[in-house]
Structures are given as structure tokens and as C-alpha cells.
């Protein structure tokens, strides 16, 4: 499948943290054909397996969390309005006048209410309307709405994708399904014979909401020899500190951190240089803000490298990514799973 279409297809799916299984069938029919096996587990992870065909093959895990930020319904009001609470780190500043999708017994559309300037009582007010006071307008009467929606129904942003100049794209949930798309894109194009080991692509759940995510259970079941965690990384934009951001349109980022494996990280940097894959280093001394520490501590411990895809406007419905960066990431995944040298160094 063409890369942009793979990205938008995966990112359009509903996978609000805690509801990842909602899209299991869709994932299966979309990309199952590229893998030898697809399965889900008791937590909400989806595991895609690609085998190399060799006996006693080593096991590589690629982790890309698959959940997304979103909302849950907390109350149904007269006139067909809904109150919601946040799932994950929702940016309050982007919510008003936004289209949302409500995943009830039917999937329906809603609009987050805003107050027009004409009716704003305090025009100099500085505070944003709090989430608990925002309403979603569904266009239904309360009685009809109660047949479709209940407290706890997940709500996501509308999947609208726009191509910008410079081969950029904007839309929802590139965090982190664009990384999943990059990995699937790479794995779908590799001949079995070229794989250095069996590859377990973990579309893990709960990253946006729980400190350890679903990755620990997913990795525990597989016991990988070594692993790569891929997650989006904050790209530099105006008014952000240089040392806390990564360059956009400069390839992938590689985290240097106490929670990653130093030898594996160096081997991956070496691989990038050999294969001319663009990357920048980012110092993340004690925390990567990703699944890496949880995966690293699973079972007997898993040597892990932490890779980032630069992303602007993270946690909005118009996250901006650079297709060039996704292609570099995809190339790195390909070289990583085909590297005999890395397998020799890390297979137990």
C-alpha cells in the first residue's frame, strides 16, 4: 500500500486509549496480509508477527504504541449535548469549534460548542473554558441520544488529513500510528530470506494513559532478544527550547539515555551511518517519555533502542509530520530487522 494512504488509514481508526480493540478487525483486514500471524491479548495489545523461516530464530520486538488521546462521555444533557472528560494529555486550547466522532452504538458526528464574540459576556477573559464546562453538540434530542450514547462512550477527533507544501501532512493521531505505519510499510516490503530474526511488531495499548502502558505485558509474552521502541518526538517550533526538541525534516531521532541500551544504540547509529539514514541524537538522560523503560525492564531485561519521529503540534488533531522523516524511519526499521551484525551481538 502507498505510504500516505497507509498512514491515513491507520491514523483514522478509533483507538482511544483503553479502546484499542475496537479497531482490531480493521487493522487485521488492512495489514494482516503482510504478516504471518496477528493476535490480540488480554490487555488490548495487537501483535503482528513476521517470521524469518530459520530454526531457533532470534526475536526482535518493534514497539509502536497504537492508542491515541481522546475523550469519554460523562453526561448527557437536555437538547442533545454531551459533557466529556479527557483520555491522555488533551490540549484545552484546541477544543472549541472542533468536529468530533462519537463511537456509540452508532458512530455519529458532533461539534464542540464555542461562544461567539457577539455573546461573550467578558470579552477580556483570559481563561479558557474548562473541559468540564465544554459541551458537544450532537443535533439529537436527549431521548434519541440516550439510545446511541452512554456514560463512558469514547469520543475522538474527526479524521481529516491535509497535505501541506514540502511533503508535509497534518491530521490526527500521527502520535503514534504514523510510526506503526512506517514499521508496517518497511516489513511489508522485506523478503523473508533477508530477515535476520523473527520480527514481533507490537501495536501496544495504554501508552497515553498508564505509566507502564500495555507494552510490558506484550513484551513479557514474547521475550524478545532485543527491541526498538518508536514513538513521536517533539519537533522544534517557534518559542520552544532547542535542547528539548528535535529537528524537523532531518530524519529520525535516536535517544541517548540511561534507560536505553548503550551498545545497541551505538550499533543503530553505526547502521544509520552505513546505510545513509538521516538521524539526530537527542539527550534524554533518565527518561525518554516513551515505552522504552517499561520494555527495558520486562522479564530478564530487554536491550532497547529508542527512536523518535519528529512531530509538530503533538496531541492536536492537526499534528504535522514530514513524509521524508517517515521514509527515513521506515528505512531504519528495514535495516534494523535485516542486520545480521546486530543479531549476532544481541541474540541470547
Amino acid at each position: 500500500m502507498e505510504l500516505k494512504r497507509l498512514i491515513t488509514s491507520l491514523c483514522s481508526l478509533m483507538s482511544v486509549s483503553g479502546h484499542e480493540q475496537y479497531s482490531y478487525e480493521a487493522v487485521s483486514s488492512l495489514v494482516g496480509k503482510y504478516f504471518d500471524e496477528i493476535k490480540s491479548d488480554g490487555v488490548g495489545n495487537i501483535l503482528l508477527v513476521r517470521r524469518c523461516g530459520k530454526e531457533n530464530a532470534a526475536k526482535i520486538m518493534i514497539d509502536t504504541h497504537f492508542d491515541e488521546i481522546g475523550m469519554l462521555v460523562t453526561k448527557i444533557h437536555e437538547g442533545g449535548f454531551l459533557s466529556v472528560t479527557s483520555v491522555g494529555g488533551l490540549d484545552l486550547s484546541i477544543l472549541q469549534a472542533t468536529d468530533v466522532v462519537i463511537y456509540g452504538r452508532e458512530t455519529i458526528t458532533g461539534v464542540i460548542a464555542s461562544t461567539p464574540p457577539h455573546l461573550k459576556k467578558d470579552k477580556s477573559a483570559k481563561k479558557l473554558t474548562e473541559l468540564s464546562e465544554l459541551l458537544i453538540d450532537t443535533g439529537y434530542e436527549k431521548e434519541e441520544l440516550e439510545k446511541i450514547v452512554s456514560v463512558g462512550t469514547p469520543v475522538g477527533f474527526s479524521p481529516v488529513y491535509t497535505e501541506l507544501l514540502g511533503d508535509r501532512m497534518c491530521g490526527k493521531s500521527f502520535d503514534n500510528k504514523a510510526c506503526a505505519a512506517a514499521a508496517i510499510y518497511a516489513l511489508s516490503k522485506i523478503d523473508r530470506a533477508n530477515l535476520a530474526a523473527d520480527v514481533y511488531l507490537l501495536l501496544s495499548c495504554h501508552e497515553e494513559t498508564l505509566p507502564t502502558g500495555g507494552v510490558a505485558a506484550g513484551a513479557f509474552a514474547v521475550e524478545p532478544d532485543y527491541a526498538m521502541v518508536i514513538d513521536v518526538n517533539l519537533a522544534r517550533v517557534p518559542d520552544t527550547p532547542r535542547h528539548e526538541t528535535v529537528d524537523f525534516d532531518a530524519g529520525v531521532s535516536i535517544s541517548i539515555s540511561a534507560v536505553t541500551d548503550k551498545r545497541l544504540t551505538r550499533a543503530v547509529e553505526q547502521l544509520c551511518r552505513e546505510k545513509k539514514i538521516k538521524y539526530t541524537r537527542v539527550a534524554a538522560p533518565s527518561s525518554t517519555g516513551t515505552n522504552t523503560p517499561a520494555l527495558n525492564l520486562t522479564g530478564r531485561g530487554v536491550p532497547t533502542v529508542d527512536i523518535g519521529l519528529p512531530l509538530k503540534s503533538m496531541h492536536t488533531y492537526n499534528e504535522v509530520l514530514c513524509i521524508g522523516d517517515v521514509l527515513e524511519l521506515s528505512a531504519l526499521v528495514r535495516e534494523f530487522v535485516c542486520s545480521e551484525k546486530i543479531r549476532e551481538g544481541f541474540a541470547i
Binding site: G89, Q96, S114, T115, P116, P117, C170, T240, N318
Partner: protein
């Protein structure tokens, strides 16, 4: 007319690019739509499109019907070295609805896509997370990373509008969500009225000037000049009005209720409307079993402000679609109200009783 399906004209109008001062695309589209349903069309010196149905006899009464073509939008006022664009709003837009939104930038010929952004939540301090981001802290990202590259596509002064899908939602798709319903809805009503009336123009007791005006949203109203040149005896302004008929708002503050028909103004911040015309509109609605309601709150203002005070004074009526979330990329109207307004305007023109 099939209910809820005959919205295509409104959809096409809403999706056009027409911020205040750059209404050309809207005017061109409307001219095409109405070329066979009027006796004459011209564009006045400010850019308003004026179409005329009538006898051409100078002793007949003149009725001006007006809706504005422009929508709230943006103007680019700085191109940064790293390719980001700074902007100002064109017309009244609350900064709370800007962050994260898709926009179209350019002019009547060239357009590109962009997105309004500020730094990610991860880089916002606590108070920045809770406060409205000022427009000065936002920027537009069009995908380019140098000023030089941006200048190949646009320059300071480029116009912008929201880029938002036109969708139907709610029970049976009863609600319409779009940008620019203010006031392409009024434009759509005029076009439909012209189509219905033109075949029967000989029976009209007055001459009608349909005015698709420019620059309402910035208050430097093209309608004023249109009224100055037409010198109408009467005017009907077709508009949208902000309503707050949502959960938690006291009935007295709701302005009007969606689904109860067009809202007829008695008074707003800049106009006191002609009482006889108000009574006439309400009578016609009642007689024809068309829903209509009185706008119950003195707020806002529109082109009537300029029209009713033009020349020797013009007796003026305003009929507005109750619209939620006005001046945002997600304005919402009830399709039933659109149909009620279409029916009421058609009936009022057929039953016009003020001509000699």
C-alpha cells in the same frame, strides 16, 4: 423540494473562499447562478454584486434585499525567517476557536493549505495550558521552512479563511455544520428566491434589487454604497444571528431557538427595525404556516445598520437564521430553519402589500 437533500447550493456557497475584501470567488459563482433569473446584473464600485428584477419604471417602489458575501477570516502580516506566518483576524473571531484549525491562504486566484498552531501542550507552562493563547503567540504552518520558499507562494497581505468540511449531523442530518454560513445562507436564500420569482416577474408590484454585498464583517459595509445608489424604499436584510440555545443557558439569554424558524429582529446594537414590516413578516408566516420567531435579545448588528440610515432613510427588516457558534469554523444551523426562511421570503415577496 426534498427535505434535507436540497442543500447543494448552500454547500457550494459555504466552501467558497471569500474573506472581507476578497469576495471575488463568491461573486463569480453567484453571477453564474443568477444570470438567467434577473433582468440585469452589475458589480458596483466596491465589488458588491447587484441583480435586478423589475419594470425599469422610475415611479415604482424599490425593494432592496441584501445578504453579504464575505466571511470572517485572516490576513498574513509577517513571514518569519523559518517559514512560519503570523496573522491578524479579519472580522471578529474569538481566539479560543483558532488553535489547531485548518486554513486556506491566498487570494482569488491562488490558494494553499495551512494550519494554525502554537507550541505543543508538552511545552506549555501551567498557566499557558489554562489560558486562551493570544493570536500573537500563534502562527500558521504551511509546510515550508524558509521565508524565501514561502515568498514563492504568498506575501504579506495574503488573505485567509477557515478550511472546514461542510457536514450534516444529528437526527436525519438535520443540522448543518460549516464555515461561512454567515452569510452564504443569506446568499443562498436570495438565489433561490430569484429562481422562484423570475418566471412571475410581471405580477410583481415593485422592483427588486438583490444585493450580494462585500465587507460586512469588518463593518466598512459595502451595503451602504449599494443602498446609496439604489435608493430603496424598503429593505430586507437576510442574515445569520448568533444564538445560545444550548444546555445550561437560561431561556431569556438564548436569543432564538433553532428549529423555530427565521429570527425577526426588533432592535439590535445598531438598528431599530420598521415595526410595520415586522408585523407583516409575522402575519405572512402565520398565514402560510411557516415558522418564524422574534429575536429575543438586543445583540449584534448587521448591514441594516448602514442601509436603514442611507439617503432619506429606508424602512428595513432583518430575517436571520439562528446560528450556533457563529464566526468559527464550525457554525451550526438547523436545515428546517433554512427551509422556513426560504418559504417566508418567497411568501413575503408574493404578498408584498406596501407598493402603491
Amino acid at each position: 423540494m426534498t427535505k434535507y437533500t436540497d442543500i447543494e447550493l448552500l454547500r457550494q456557497l459555504c466552501l467558497l473562499f471569500g474573506p472581507s475584501g476578497c469576495e471575488d470567488n463568491v461573486a463569480d459563482f453567484i453571477r453564474e447562478q443568477i444570470s438567467d433569473t434577473c433582468d440585469e446584473i452589475y458589480t458596483d464600485r466596491l465589488g458588491s454584486l447587484i441583480a435586478y428584477i423589475g419594470s425599469g419604471k422610475s415611479d415604482r417602489q424599490r425593494l432592496m434585499i441584501s445578504a453579504h458575501m464575505d466571511e470572517v477570516g485572516f490576513m498574513i502580516n509577517e513571514i518569519c525567517d523559518d517559514g512560519y506566518l503570523k496573522f491578524e483576524t479579519l472580522g471578529g473571531i474569538d481566539p479560543s476557536v483558532l488553535c489547531g484549525k485548518n486554513v486556506t491562504l491566498g487570494d482569488e486566484v491562488n490558494k494553499i493549505k495551512g494550519v494554525i498552531a502554537s507550541k505543543a501542550i508538552h511545552h506549555k507552562k501551567r498557566d499557558e495550558r489554562l489560558n486562551i493563547t493570544p493570536v500573537s503567540d500563534m502562527y500558521i504552518d504551511i509546510g515550508l521552512s524558509s521565508r524565501e520558499d514561502v515568498l514563492k507562494y504568498l506575501d504579506i497581505g495574503a488573505y485567509g479563511t477557515f478550511d472546514s468540511e461542510f457536514i450534516r449531523f444529528g437526527k436525519d442530518g438535520r443540522k448543518i455544520k460549516s464555515k461561512a454560513l454567515d452569510d452564504r445562507l443569506g446568499c443562498a436564500v436570495m438565489i433561490e428566491a430569484m429562481r422562484a420569482l423570475y418566471p412571475e416577474r410581471d405580477s410583481l408590484p415593485m422592483d427588486i434589487y438583490f444585493c450580494f454585498t462585500v465587507r460586512e464583517e469588518i463593518g466598512i459595509s459595502g451595503a451602504q454604497v449599494a443602498a446609496n445608489t439604489i435608493k430603496p424604499d424598503f429593505a430586507i436584510v437576510l442574515e445569520t444571528t448568533a444564538v445560545a440555545d444550548i444546555a445550561g443557558v437560561a431561556d431569556s439569554a438564548k436569543v432564538a431557538i433553532q428549529g423555530e424558524g427565521g429570527a425577526i429582529s426588533l432592535m439590535d446594537r445598531s438598528t431599530i427595525y420598521d415595526r410595520e414590516l415586522v408585523e407583516f413578516a409575522l402575519d405572512v408566516a402565520k398565514k402560510n404556516s411557516v415558522k418564524a420567531q422574534i429575536k429575543k435579545y438586543v445583540s449584534g448588528g448587521n448591514d441594516a445598520s448602514h442601509i436603514h440610515k442611507s439617503g432619506v432613510g429606508v424602512r428595513t427588516l432583518a430575517l436571520s437564521a439562528p446560528t450556533r457558534y457563529l464566526h468559527s469554523p464550525a457554525c451550526v444551523v438547523d436545515a428546517e430553519d433554512y427551509y422556513s426562511i426560504l418559504s417566508l421570503v418567497d411568501a413575503m415577496l408574493r404578498e408584498w402589500k406596501f407598493a402603491d
